[in-house]
Point group: C2
Chain length 351, copies 2
DNA sequence: TATTCGTGAAGGAACGTTCCTGCACAAGGG
DNA sequence: CCCTTGTGCAGGAACGTTCCTTCACGAATA
C-alpha cells in the first residue's frame, strides 16, 4: 500500500473511478469537449482537483502526435572546450529563438552538440533549428531522415540530400557582401592599411570573411593583415590588438570579427596611445548595444540574431503546421556606421 | 496510396513485417537486448536501415517513464516587455544549466514564463529549475503537485506546501551578507557617501540588497542614496549615474546592482570629469569578464551563475534518479576586489 | 525413450491519454 | 403507437514503443 501510494501518480482512470463515470467523461469534462451538462462537468472537475490529478504530458504527446517543442543547436563549435552560448551572438540568437517560439506556443530545447551518436533523436521534437552546421553535418541529415523539419543553412540542406526538399528550410547570410561593405566603407573613409582580427574556428562566418578580405586586397594589390585567434577570449583578443598596433607600420583601420566589448577595446586602444578615429578607424562585428554609448560611438556589424531567429522559427512553424510558406530567407548583415570609422572632416551623415 | 505514403512514418511493425519477424525481435535487435543470434540481429538492422526506420521518441518516452528533459524558467521578470535572457546573469545561468544538464545526459527546455494557465505542465519534463520565483509562485506549486521534482529557492518551496519536502530542493543566496560585504568594504576603503543604483523589479536580489542598504545606513546614521530604475537598459543606467554625480554633494562611492558594461560605465564617469578610484569608488554587480581588463580594473560582485547552475542540476538529477543527496545549497556571492574600489594609498592587497 | 534445459522468437499487455463509435433513453412528429 | 432526433455517457481502439510471458524445438541428460 505504501509502495503504490508513494510513487503512483493519479491517472485519468483513477479520477473516473472516484467520480463514478467513465474515462471518456473525465477527459471531456477536463478538456471542455463532448456533450456534457454543466453539472457533470463541474462534478468531475471537483473530484479531479480533490485527487490532485495532473494529466501525463508524455501520454498526451503520443496521442496528439506533436510535442510543440523545437530544438536549437549551434553546431559550429562542436567539441570545443568552451561553449558557444558564451558568445553574445549565439546567446542572443537562442534567446530570440526562444521568444519567437514562445509566441507561436512552442517551447525550445537546447540540444547537446556532442554525445552518443544519434542521441538528439531521442528528444521528442516537432522541428529543429540547426545554427551554423559543420560541413556534412550528420545532425541535419539525421533529423531529415527521421521526418523532422529542419531549418539550417542552404548548403547543409543540399548536402543532406533526400528529404531536404520536403522538410528543409534555410536561412542564409550574405557573408561576402557584408565583409565587402565593411572594407569598402573603410576605404572610402580613407583607410589604406586595414587589419582584421578573426578566429580560426570552423566558423563559416570567419572563414568566408577572411577569404573575402584576401580577395578584396588582391583586387587592389594590397597586403592583407590578419591575426587569427585560436580561440575567443578577452585576453587573446586584446593581445592581438596590442601586437597589431605595435607593428613598425601600424594599421590605420581595425576590423574585429570576434566578439569583444567595444568600450573595452576602445579603452585598450587608448591605453596604447592611439586615438579613434584620428589614428585608427574601428569597426566591430558585435551584438553589444554598448557600442553606441562609447566615446566615440563604435561602428558595428550585426548579424541580426533577432531577425534571423524570428525568420527561422516562422519558417519552421509554417512547415510543421502544414502551411505553405517560403523555402528560405537570405539575410544581409547590418552595418551601422558611427564615428569610430570616420576620419575627422569626412564623417558620414550618421553620427 | 500516395496519401498514406506521404506522411506515414515507418514504424517498428513495418520493419517487422518487412524482415519477416515479430516486433519483439526488431526491438531487441535494434536495442541490443534479448537473445538473438548475430545473423538475425544484423538482418533486422539491414532491413531497418533500408526502410529508413527511426524510432518514435514520444512512444519511447511513454514506455520508459522518463524524458531526460529538464525545464528552466527565470520567473523574476514575468510579464515584463523585455526578456530576462538579455541579462548577462540569466544568460550565463541558463548556459551553465545547459552545460551541467548535458553532462548528466539531460536536455534543457527553456520554459515560457507567461501563457495560458498551467501551460508549462504540457511539457514532458523530468525536473525543473525555477530561478528567482515570484512570491507565491504558481509554477513551483504546479510542478510539485504534478510530482515533478523542483529546484528553486527555499522560500518558494516552503510556500508551495505539501510535496515540497518530498520533491523540492533549494539553492539559496545570502543576499544580505553579500550586500553588507560590499558596503563594509567601501567604508573600510574610506567611502562616506555611498550611492546605489538598483531596479524596481520584483527581483528579490535588488529588493533585499536595497533593504540591507537601508538597514546598514540606519545603523550608522547615514542618509541612503538610491536610484531605482523602472527597467534595465543601458541608457537608463547611464542617465542615473549622470544624475547622481551631478548632485551638489556627489557620492564618493557607487554601487551598481543592475547589469552594465564595466568599461562603458567607467568611460561615462570619465566623460563626466570624475576619476575612479580617486574621486569615486566603484563596485559593480556584474558577470562581465571585461571588468578585470579595464583601467582601473573594476571590483565586481558575482552571483556565481556557473556554480549555482551546477549545484541546481546536481540536486535535481540526484532526486530524479533516486539517489540520496543534499536538500539544498546556500551560496554566498563572490566579491572580487580590484582597484576601482580602493582609494590611492590604501589599496587592498589584490591588485 | 521420456525429461530437462537452453535457445530463438512470437504474442500481447502496458504506458496514459484522446477520440471514434455506439447504446440507452426521453421527447417530439407522423 | 412507431419512427426519428438529440442528449448523456460508456466502451474500446489507437498512438508506437518496451518488455514480460509463453511457446516450440533441438540437444543433452537420466
Amino acid at each position: 500500500m505504501s509502495q503504490s501510494e508513494r510513487n503512483a501518480r493519479v491517472r485519468l482512470v483513477d479520477v473516473a473511478r472516484a467520480a463514478g463515470v467513465s474515462k471518456t467523461t473525465v477527459s471531456d469534462a477536463l478538456n471542455g469537449a463532448g456533450r456534457l451538462p454543466a453539472a457533470t462537468r463541474e462534478h468531475v472537475r471537483q473530484v479531479a482537483r480533490g485527487l490532485g490529478y495532473r494529466p501525463n504530458a508524455t501520454a498526451r504527446l503520443l496521442r496528439r502526435g506533436h510535442t510543440r517543442l523545437l530544438g536549437v543547436a549551434a553546431r559550429e563549435y562542436v567539441d570545443t572546450p568552451w561553449v558557444y552560448a558564451d558568445l553574445a551572438y549565439f546567446s542572443q540568437l537562442t534567446t530570440a529563438t526562444t521568444r519567437a517560439a514562445l509566441s507561436h506556443g512552442y517551447g525550445v530545447v537546447l540540444l547537446p552538440t556532442s554525445g552518443p551518436e544519434d542521441c538528439w533523436l531521442d528528444m521528442p521534437l516537432d522541428g529543429v533549428f540547426v545554427i551554423d552546421p559543420v560541413a556534412g553535418d550528420p545532425m541535419v541529415g539525421d533529423f531529415l531522415a527521421a521526418g523532422v523539419p529542419v531549418v539550417s543553412d542552404r548548403r547543409a540542406l543540399s548536402e543532406a540530400g533526400s528529404g531536404a526538399r520536403e522538410n528543409g528550410r534555410w536561412v542564409d547570410f550574405d557573408y561576402d557582401g557584408a565583409a565587402r561593405q565593411v572594407f569598402d566603407h573603410l576605404e572610402a573613409a580613407g583607410a589604406r592599411r586595414i587589419a582584421v582580427v578573426a578566429a580560426t574556428a570552423t566558423a563559416c562566418f570567419h572563414q568566408r570573411s577572411v577569404g573575402t578580405y584576401h580577395d578584396w586586397c588582391a583586387e587592389r594589390g594590397r597586403e592583407p593583415r590578419i591575426v587569427l585567434l585560436p580561440s575567443p577570449g578577452v585576453q587573446q583578443m586584446l593581445d592581438a590588438v596590442r601586437e597589431l598596433l605595435a607593428a613598425d607600420v601600424p594599421p590605420d583601420a581595425l576590423v574585429t570579427l570576434v566578439e569583444v566589448s567595444p568600450p573595452l577595446l576602445l579603452d585598450t586602444i587608448r591605453r596604447l596611445g592611439r586615438s579613434v578615429p584620428d589614428d585608427l578607424l574601428l569597426v566591430c562585428a558585435t551584438e553589444d548595444p554598448a557600442a553606441s554609448y562609447t566615446d566615440p560611438p563604435v561602428t558595428t556589424l550585426s548579424f541580426l540574431p533577432g531577425e534571423t531567429a524570428r525568420a527561422a522559427v516562422d519558417l519552421l512553424v509554417d512547415r510543421i503546421e502544414g502551411r505553405a510558406g517560403d523555402h528560405g530567407r537570405l539575410f544581409s548583415a547590418d552595418l551601422r556606421i558611427r564615428s569610430s570609422s570616420a576620419f575627422p572632416g569626412r564623417r558620414p551623415a550618421l553620427g
